[in-house]
């Protein structure tokens, strides 16, 4: 049994998979609206619209809960940049993805009580969770309350600004998801990190890994 706090408590796993489902829903319905064409009718436009709005509102709620979880349930500590993360951490981790992983080398930043994310992952997650995520939510809500927003942002009508910002921020978000899904396969085995994110780390799973313990978890 793992000692100390768990890196993947139930609330976090529920949040993660709920997010995954909401993201996928938002992506499909969002693409449906953006590329709407009479010759592309797999989902009714109005259904897409309603489902997109509902999923966006739910995602906002889940995000607020995640912030509370980070503040009060200890998960926030994994996002803190610590000594060695930037240098040499970033280069070591990038080297691992470019070179070491093909040679079967061990993860340079194994999982431990104080580390869940490798340095590269930590930096990207910081940007994604605390920059892109709120930007996505805020621009989405901007479309709900266009009359309350500053008028004429960057010389564009405010509604156009929020709509275009929302669309393309989330295009980049979807790129993150594609890479995220792939990097989820880079644990000790292809499915290890997925199992960890689904079943949690309450059953000593991480002790079966490399001699250093669990490989760096990035899913």
């Amino acid at each position: 049994m793992m000692s100390g706090p768990r890196a993947y408590p139930l609330w976090l796993r529920v949040w993660h998979w709920a997010n995954a489902a909401l993201f996928l829903t938002l992506l499909v319905t969002g693409l449906r609206m953006h590329y709407s064409a009479p010759s592309f009718p797999p989902i009714d436009f109005r259904v897409s619209h309603l489902v997109h709005n509902a999923a966006g509102i739910l995602l906002t709620l889940f995000y607020l809960l995640y912030i509370l979880g980070n503040l009060f349930l200890g998960n926030g500590r994994y996002y803190r940049i610590v000594s060695g993360d930037i240098s040499p951490g970033l280069m070591l981790q990038a080297g691992y993805y470019i070179h070491g992983i093909f040679l079967g080398r061990s993860h340079p930043f194994p999982h431990g009580p104080d580390r869940k994310f490798n340095p590269l992952q930590k930096l990207i997650y910081l940007a994604v969770v605390f920059l892109f995520f709120p930007a996505s939510i805020l621009t989405g809500w901007g479309l709900f309350v266009p009359d309350k927003l500053p008028q004429g942002v960057l010389g564009m009508p405010s509604f156009a600004f929020w709509a275009i910002a929302h669309t393309y921020i989330n295009f980049f978000f979807s790129l993150f998801m594609i890479v995220h899904v792939y990097l989820g396969t880079t644990g000790e085995t292809l499915g290890e990190l997925y199992r960890l994110m689904w079943f949690g780390d309450a059953h000593g799973h991480e002790e079966k890994g490399s001699p250093k313990g669990e490989g760096t978890v990035r899913a």
């Binding site: 064409a37 709005n53 564009m156 156009a160 709509a163 275009i164």
Partner: protein, 286 residues
């Protein structure tokens, strides 16, 4: 584009048309309704009670000879709308534009306010809930003549026929139901919705609406957002928010850029995965 904003505000706002204090339900049922509830000269009391004139007694307009039965007057000769509503720039401009419209030029020289705005049932579009309600209210007058139908089935058939005449549109029925007819069928460079043009002069430029910088839709969506929050509450207004215009978020270079990035990401992942498999295979077999 500025006149277009005014058109939309006129269509959707139109608040200045109605005097304050007429928002309450009601309208006393007059003695007239004893006879005029049915038959060819019937007035629907429920619809009249919703109309902008609901607080006016019948004899306010039907003046001479109508205060007793049998009526001394010949026909329901009523005063001109401008007798009450005239004298303001908005109504004078509207009256002038109607006279120059296709309805008068190519149709009926006597075409006037009441051909579109029923004095008994007229309600400003701004008093109807929701985006579709507003468009339905705005378009009702047009559809009454251009897609008539005594039954729902006949009306639907007429609407289908009308939609086929709008051949340029994809999603023809959506456009008919969610766009004010006068948005395209009046001049885009003048702030009027009453100067209805011949078919050949109707707006045919999709980009006037389907672009991110379309002030026409921006102003309308901002107006609706405020209105719907007041009517439905903020959560329902957000959930049922319909402020999306197909194509308005499209940007050619950004679309291409994200497509290329997605392909590059997938290609990079494919190469990386292949490399992992290949070197893993070599390690296992060596």
């Amino acid at each position: 584009m500025k006149p277009m904003i005014r058109i939309v505000l006129f269509l959707t706002g139109a608040l200045w048309l109605a005097p304050p204090g007429t928002a309450g339900a009601g309208g006393a049922e007059s003695d007239c309704m004893g006879c005029h509830k049915s038959g060819a000269r019937a007035i629907d009391p429920a619809r009249y009670a919703q109309s902008v004139h609901r607080e006016l007694p019948c004899t306010e307009c039907h003046m001479e000879g109508y205060d007793r039965f049998p009526h001394a007057g010949k026909g329901a000769g009523a005063p001109a709308c401008t007798d009450c509503h005239g004298g303001t720039a908005a109504f004078d401009d509207a009256a002038r534009d109607v006279k120059a419209s296709v309805h008068v030029e190519m149709g009926d020289p006597d075409f006037g306010c009441t051909n579109c705005h029923s004095p008994h049932y007229f309600l400003p579009a701004s008093r109807t809930p929701g985006r579709e309600g507003i468009f339905a209210a705005v378009n009702r007058a047009c559809i009454a003549c251009h897609a008539p139908g005594d039954t729902p089935e006949a009306g639907a058939a007429s609407m289908k026929e009308l939609s086929l005449m709008h051949g340029r549109f994809p999603h023809k029925m959506v456009h008919l139901q969610r766009v004010a007819c006068v948005a395209c069928h009046t001049p885009t460079d003048k702030d009027t919705v009453h100067l209805v043009l011949p078919k050949s002069k109707a707006l045919g430029d999709c980009i006037m609406c389907h672009s991110g910088s379309s002030l026409l839709t921006v102003k309308f969506d901002e107006y609706l957002a405020e209105k719907e929050r007041a009517e439905k509450g903020w959560l329902n207004a957000a959930l049922y928010n319909n402020a999306y215009l197909t194509g308005a978020t499209r940007h050619r270079w950004l679309d291409w850029g994200t497509f290329v990035l997605t392909v590059l990401a997938l290609a990079g992942i494919g190469i990386h995965a292949l490399g992992r498999w290949f070197f893993g295979y070599i390690r296992r077999t060596s």
